[in-house]
Amino acid sequence: MKPEDRAWADLQRQAAVHLRHGFADRVLRAARGPRATAWRQLYEAAAARLRPGFAERVLRAARRVADLPSLSSQLALSAATAALCLGAVLYFHNRALEQADARNLAEWQKIVDAAREIDTSGL
């Protein structure tokens, strides 16, 4: 063997040492991408995470959720309560105003009557 051939062979040997075991398989796998078996294993691993009685738990939870008032009905109830409160505030405010007006008118009427009395007595 010529010295340069020996050098090449040494170089190849040196380089080959850096390739980890299973190099060809890894290259092929990387080139092909994941096989169907890998996906199947993923699905099986996920399925194994579901505890027994999964369907029953879901149905129970769905029933519980159904018993709770929906967001829209809660919003409607809040809006109705707010409207009722506002209506009550306006009603009592108006009533208070009307009573104050009546009181003021009565006071003014008294003043008018007194003024009229003074006028007539003065004449």
């Binding site: 796998r29 080139a31 993923l42 699905y43 579901l50």
Partner: protein
């Protein structure tokens, strides 16, 4: 529901829509493993599988009466599952903004290889490098959804689905390098 014919499935969905609990249970049992796998593929978190699958099926039971075409049940169910997973990942991302230390606690790496095979471990590693949207795309393909169905689910064009799928597959292949292997 591989063994059920489309007509039988449609009948089952119709019964479930009328509130027949046995039919609802049958639907859940028939699809729970597929939905669990789908959730795992998108979230890449095995601890999310049970909770998110449960959320998907609760939504299914509650919204089933609004499904107008029972024949489209599978597409509809996987759309629900996809949206539930993406919403969960978004919420998790938002939570991280307000709880900066949460990420360390949420992303505790699962013990790779403890029970997984080398192939599964490599797939999980590759999926983890992809965006959730791309993982969802690949999972929909694994579920046997056609390009047209996926385009409906994602509300985009078939051409866009093909392009995105091509890129997602390229990325998956790129990261399906067992560099983390011992």
């Amino acid at each position: 529901m591989e063994t059920t014919s489309p007509t039988a499935l449609t009948d089952l969905v119709r019964r479930a829509q009328k509130g027949d609990e046995d039919a609802q249970r049958e639907l859940i049992v028939s699809y729970q493993h597929r939905v669990a796998g789908f959730v795992y593929a998108i979230t890449n978190r095995s601890d999310y599988v049970e909770d998110l699958s449960q959320q998907v099926f609760i939504k299914m039971v509650r919204a089933l009466d609004r499904l107008q075409a029972p024949a489209q049940f599978e597409s509809w169910l996987f759309r629900l599952a996809r949206n539930t997973c993406i919403d969960q990942l978004r919420r998790q991302k938002l939570r991280r903004i307000f709880l900066p230390f949460g990420e360390e606690h949420e992303n505790i790496p699962e013990p790779a290889g403890a029970v997984d095979t080398e192939e599964l471990d490599a797939l999980r590693h590759a999926l983890a490098q992809l965006r959730p949207q791309d993982r969802a795309l690949l999972a929909l393909v694994q579920e046997g959804r056609s390009h047209a169905e996926i385009s409906e689910i994602l509300e985009t064009s078939v051409a866009a689905v093909k392009a995105r799928l091509h890129r997602a597959r390229e990325h998956l292949r790129e990261h399906y390098q067992p560099t983390h292997e011992t």
